[in-house]
Subunit: 423 residues, 2 copies
Amino acid sequence: MVERRKSIPVEEAVQRVLTNAKALEGEEIRIEESDGRYLAEDIVADHDVPPFNRSPYDGFAIVAGDTAAASRDNPALFEVIETIGAGDVAEKEVTNGSAIRIMTGAALPKGADAVVMLELTSEIDGSEGRQIAIKRPFKSGDNISWQGEDTASGSILLKKGRKITPGVKAVLATFGYAHVKVYKRPVVGVIATGSELLEVHEPLEPGKIRNSNAHMILAQIRQTGAIPVYLDQLKDDFDQSFERVSLALDAIDVLITTGGVSVGDFDYLPAIYEKLGAEVLFNKVGMRPGSVTTVAKLKDQQKWLFGLSGNPSACFVGFELFAGPYLKTMQGVTNRFLQSEEAVLSVDFPKSNPFTRFVRCRVKREGGHLYAAPVGLDKSNVVTSLADSNALMILPGGTRGYKSGESIKVLLLQGEGSDKFCL
Amino acid sequence: MVERRKSIPVEEAVQRVLTNAKALEGEEIRIEESDGRYLAEDIVADHDVPPFNRSPYDGFAIVAGDTAAASRDNPALFEVIETIGAGDVAEKEVTNGSAIRIMTGAALPKGADAVVMLELTSEIDGSEGRQIAIKRPFKSGDNISWQGEDTASGSILLKKGRKITPGVKAVLATFGYAHVKVYKRPVVGVIATGSELLEVHEPLEPGKIRNSNAHMILAQIRQTGAIPVYLDQLKDDFDQSFERVSLALDAIDVLITTGGVSVGDFDYLPAIYEKLGAEVLFNKVGMRPGSVTTVAKLKDQQKWLFGLSGNPSACFVGFELFAGPYLKTMQGVTNRFLQSEEAVLSVDFPKSNPFTRFVRCRVKREGGHLYAAPVGLDKSNVVTSLADSNALMILPGGTRGYKSGESIKVLLLQGEGSDKFCL
């Protein structure tokens, strides 16, 4: 009657999911559409930065030597022979005693070897800008941004796998990437199962609850960069569920189901995996919540099936630990895991538990330290706490509880991610 | 010749931008389209959670008293009179000696006052599931999720101003918010100015650089939740720029320009603000980079104009400090400022500076502490460092430099934000 399952440790479960997981191929898209995507090519400088010697200030380009003896009482005088804006190239050459008025970003004129900021010069009365005075010495090279001092042409600026942020877009634009190669986004289908489920617009009925998992999972999928598709909400019925799941697999890269993976009499997912001929990578993990999280793989098609618990918190945790890193791997993401940090537990957790727990919590920084407090009750059906948590605290299983002030690890939900999975 | 401007402190500049800034009105959208938007209404529970007494486990609903004397050698026996799945309501009542097989999430049947997990029961041989044995005592109330124990009907679950995350969506779905009221998103036009600018697809020319600021700013705008619109790239020409800016103002809520706000001869933005009759809130801020950041306001139309520097780093910082919080205010966001944290400086910064500096840096957590190191050279024209920084370190102006190991403040670029502006 009761199916006996073999539990494996969380680390091993993550390992099984990611072994043989591969990035999808790349596609070229316009820079305008690239926000939040992941680079599928290294970004290389197509020119020196700065591309020419240029002025970082508004001012005058001069020969520095002319100011060697300049002082308040004995200013050096210059004749202004030309004015150039950013984007212009001076027609004239700077020679001793002459200066070219130059704007921020403009190329250093020939002959000049220093720039003097506008505010350190004064106009000679009555010259109408044609003559200026400088009252202190400047050295050759002062206030010049040298060609290539930031980056030399040909150097790798950004490695593939990086997320395209505003700063990355600035780099792409600077180096002429009007199109950029990014990893394709996997299409992820979501099916919620459970005869107790109502759609969000339906009024409550005795014994029923509204389907919150599908909406949550769709948003979690979107956060990874993948494309979520809500397929269906199914009753606990084997034939209908089998048909819907088989059909779904044609159109998508990954299928995520919620519910139906436990050992209840109406939990049909295990039987569906079997009938599909899918290889079950694991169906029990040594953790709370989410111990029934099941991951299976269609052998020939390289399609993964994630069977998450129907319990909202278990569903959330199962997604973040297993499905999230897998979807990021498909997009070539380097930092595919939740970022793990040390924190100080700010309440007692007296009850021991043989299993590793992932407790929804809020972390707060104070005085450079990170403090973690659980959010709400930690019953795994408490849905409101999911909105308030910004991390999962990891409480390794064992025979003792945990005390306020102890150092623990937390997984940050909104962090930058990590390239290693660390518990 | 040189326009003299009055510099104001950063805090005062932020204050001037946000005084009288208001949230746009709300709009109802479908839950499916609500990811990343900001709640314009408090979310209220329309029912108790759980909505009925239910079982958190697969198992059997019984009268607890029947197990009072149960032991390994003397198990309590039960007749299984019905089986209910989640979503079903039992037809029968549990009486002494009877049990109803119950799945996770199903409503507790009448008469039952405890649930025993499936794995703590055993089937009587040959009974074909009709009889079970329980080998230890259970108390009244064991393994029941009580109606309302999580949340009582009518209570406020989430306050307006919150960002819609996966966890928030779970709450919305649970409480029947098929439609949710969110703040409208401001439409933000971007115009890049500078005769030196080439479009990203154009080959480099002497004295010219590609326009990276517009692409960066568009991505920064998108990150705030607002709708970015790239309008144009303009030469340093007063008439053309004035016409384009005037025209743009009709179609947008906010205009962001890059370049043209300095005191160079080709910096026309100040003159454009004047001709538009805009009130200049400030045009010089006591900070580096970004000291020329200018913010103006069209008096009658309540339209803000942000004039950011044409220098990429100054442009980035000017956006994050002033435009970002303003765009978030328009969307009713509570945590509209960059989150400020204490960090340990991990290199020397020997040079003193009279102005508060915002240095692009990378923060790293180690052993619960936050360490900050500047990214690349800190010349404000170093564009690659923008891609690598995840924070801005704040180095207050003064007569001394900073030493490795000193405690400083950083503003996190990817944090959760803060409701206060703290330097």
